[in-house]
């Protein structure tokens, strides 16, 4: 037993200091473990995805289009794809596992000529039998591999009557009714290796997907990250990157921090407010206007928006430039019509609105609302596609107030918005949702008489769209839909605000990436310098 030191207080202090020192040792010890081994050509992406989906073909889309963009399209391929090879043009339909196709004159029969010498990454040959195996798995209830969950992700397969093998590299799909977007909508009907499915079933695919894509699934840390390695034997252009890792970082501030700290090389959905400082710190920022319509959908059956003049007044009352350039720092482009400039159905001549508050006031007065109007607008507070919804809606609210359009904003979350719209009784005069018009086959819920959740109805528009849905000639179909867009724009069915540019930020070492006019991207030319 020691009796030496008389000063208990000082001893306690020493104990405290020892604790602090021990903590410091722990801290520095930990810090040395921070950096992992570097692979030469590894791209690490910070994604806004909140969770990793099941990795089985169709189920990947349950993580939204992000899942399809950053997981599905790396591992799997469809017969067709979105062609994003030219960054100056809208993304049309491109050849993927089918190198070409013939369409019968009645539009009911599609014969696909498959790429030869394609193998799944487990060595299984991709041929007509593999196509039929997969399609039966999606839609033939009598097939032993049939999985009822998957068909819910593939609305396009409802048009398929039958699929037949012509020879080893040719298959024919017979449709139950003509559908001109068949090729376009097949883009995410992925093909998985029949050998892998035979052995491990859907559950195996969900954990270890085997496709024909440019990358091979490598590993997954549940809801944290997923990585892929280069498919050395890829039938197309073999990627330059050895590895792609996707880290899940749903919080936008955390994404920016991850990029700045070097944890990731590339972030999706970068915050417009961070752009200036990121550029100043030497990061590259990219963006390109794409088919993403951020608008207010007006309830056209109810007062006051049952009067076209009030809808037009909305479109003349807002300063889109201020929103796109000032508020969003150029990460969006002003929208003056229904179709985005990156749409296949865009016509510049349809830009019939501009910033003209005097005209807006006049239109309101003509409609009998010289004292202005009071409206309630529901909007989604957050989510990848809603952009900076709160700030944007508040800016619009202030602009509209200048012409006596008094807006009450009703914030809801994504599920709340869906529930209200689905139930059909929102109590709002308009809703702010952002979406893509890339798939005209699914415009019904926004734009079709009788099924539009916003009450929009224009018989002329519906006729043009119905015709387009069965017109297999690309140019003729585009013309019909351009005309439909012109009608909707003249109707002022929505208050058109901006189109998104899918802002990204990346480190200077990412080379060769040119952002297409699309939500879809490919990593063909990307490398790390």
């Amino acid at each position: 037993m020691h009796h030496a030191m008389p000063r208990g207080g000082r001893r306690r202090l020493l104990a405290l200091l020892a604790t602090v020192a021990a903590t410091a040792v722990v801290l520095t010890g930990c810090a040395s473990g921070g950096s992992g081994a570097a692979v030469k050509q590894e791209l690490v992406i910070g994604s806004q995805m909140a969770s990793l989906p099941s990795l089985d073909t169709g189920a990947i889309t349950s993580a939204g289009y992000e899942g399809q963009r950053l997981i599905g399209n790396l591992v799997y391929e469809g017969l067709t794809k979105r062609d994003v090879s030219d960054p100056t043009k809208p993304a049309g339909v491109g050849a993927a596992l089918a190198k070409s196709w013939d369409i019968s004159s009645d539009g009911l029969s599609y014969t696909f000529h498959l790429q030869k010498n394609v193998t799944f990454t487990d060595g299984t040959k991709f041929d007509a039998s593999a196509v039929i195996y997969n399609i039966h798995r999606y839609m033939d209830k009598n097939d032993p591999h049939y999985d009822p969950k998957l068909i819910t992700y593939y609305a396009v397969l409802a048009y398929v009557q039958d699929v037949k093998k012509v020879d080893d590299s040719t298959v024919t799909f017979t449709l139950n009714k003509p559908f001109a977007f068949f090729l376009a909508d097949l883009y995410n009907v992925y093909f998985a290796s029949p050998t892998s499915l035979d052995k491990f079933g859907s559950a195996g695919q969900a954990k270890k997907p085997v496709g024909t894509g440019p990358f091979i699934f490598d590993s997954e840390t549940p809801n944290q990250s997923i990585s892929f390695v280069k498919n050395q034997k890829y039938w197309g252009v073999v990627p330059k990157l050895d590895r792609i890792t996707v880290d899940l970082i749903p919080d936008p501030a955390a994404r920016t921090a991850a990029l700045r700290s070097g944890r990731v090389d590339w972030i999706e959905a970068a915050q417009p407010d961070d752009f200036t400082s990121l550029k100043a710190a030497g990061f590259a920022t990219t963006g390109n206007s794409f088919d993403w319509e951020w608008s207010w959908q007006l309830m056209t059956q109810e007062k006051p928006f049952n009067d076209i003049r009030v809808r037009q007044a909305m479109n003349f009352a807002i300063d889109r430039d201020a929103i796109a350039k000032d508020l969003l720092h150029g990460t969006a482009t002003p929208a003056y019509q229904m179709m985005a400039p990156a749409s296949l159905y865009y016509d510049k001549a349809n830009n019939i609105y501009n910033y003209d508050p005097a005209k807006a006031k006049q239109l309101l007065a003509d409609a009998g609302y010289s004292g202005g109007i009071d409206i309630t607008v529901g909007y989604i507070t957050s989510g990848s596609g809603s952009m900076q919804a709160k700030a944007m809606d508040e800016a619009l609210q202030a602009q509209l107030a200048k012409v006596n359009i008094r807006v009450t904003l009703a914030p809801v979350d994504f599920s709340g918005m869906y529930a209200k719209l689905g139930a059909g009784n929102t109590g709002w005069q308009a809703a702010n949702q952002a979406f893509s018009l890339e798939q005209p086959s699914s415009w019904g819920w926004t734009l079709q008489c009788g099924s539009s959740l916003f009450g929009y109805c224009n018989k002329g528009f519906d006729d043009l769209r119905s015709q387009a849905l069965v017109t297999t000639d690309d140019a003729a179909r585009a013309k019909l839909l351009t005309e439909a867009g012109s009608l909707q724009t003249k109707d002022a069915g929505w208050m058109y605000v901006v189109n998104d540019t899918a802002p990204r930020a990346m480190s200077a070492s990412v080379k060769g990436y040119v952002q297409p006019k699309s939500w879809w991207i490919d990593f063909n030319n990307v490398s790390m310098g």
């Binding site: 473990g33 921070g34 992992g36 909140a50 349950s62 501030a253 955390a254 070097g262 869906y418």
Partner: protein, 320 residues
Amino acid sequence: MRHNRLVRFIGSRLLLTVITAFFVSMIVFFAVRAVPGDPALNVLGLQSTAADREALRRVMGLDQPLIVQFFNWLGHAITGDFGYSYSQGRPVASVIGPALGNTLLLGLAASILAVIIGLAMGNAATSRWRGLRRTTDWIEAVFLSAPQYTVALILLICFAVLLPLFPAGGVSTRGNGSVTDIGSHLLLPAVALALAPGAQMARSLKTSISTLQATELLPSLRARGLSPLRITVHAHHNALPPMVTVLGIQVGTMLGGALFVENIFSIPGLGALVVQSVALRDYTLIQAVSLLIAVIFIVVLLLADLLNALLDPRIRVGQL
């Protein structure tokens, strides 16, 4: 006799746990269904037909009366079957497993840190040096009042971005699951979670030690010739049970704080899972996660009580 008492104590607490879990499940079950939202609509999208949504609702079992749904869920939950998560496309159990592991790891790291902070600050606050006491009080006030969300962001910016000592998020570096690697990932979020509970524990320790300092115990121990170290041990022995109780209660605060901290440090834990599952109205997932969080909290409180019984014989024999 004493043994019996302890067994009865544990038994009654476990019974209480089951009852509490039942009521938590029931309240959460009916509360989330009162919030507008349709899980089938979330899965199928607005372009789906009403008939399709109704069919999926049938598959999900949402077409039945609420009370039937609840007992259906309860019946399965008792057998360990927590159902299928439609937003994640896999069974609930397989979603929760890894998340639970991450949150427990983070919670453990934060608890250890909180104890260290509590001991260090509690001692500093009762130091003989006035300056140190004052500074500690000031730091304690900051720790107690700083919102975890802000603390997490500041730590992230300071120690992962400006001064890149630690990784900016995640649980581990891919391909590296070593203890130091995981430790370096968890340190910042654990600090963000530990500050307030640590300060609370410091307060408790400070009160105990000051109370003790006002008595004749310490001088008499010193008079009996005990070394200062032994005296410190005695002083802390008395102060420990209240500290353990505070820590147990603070675990609740940490579980709440994990909601924000896990998001900022992109740690896929239970907190992040609650946020996601509520946003997507994934009823089965919400049910399971909230039940799990409630059970963790109750079990931690039980463990705290048991630990106190070990530390303090008076509690063990029911004299307090």
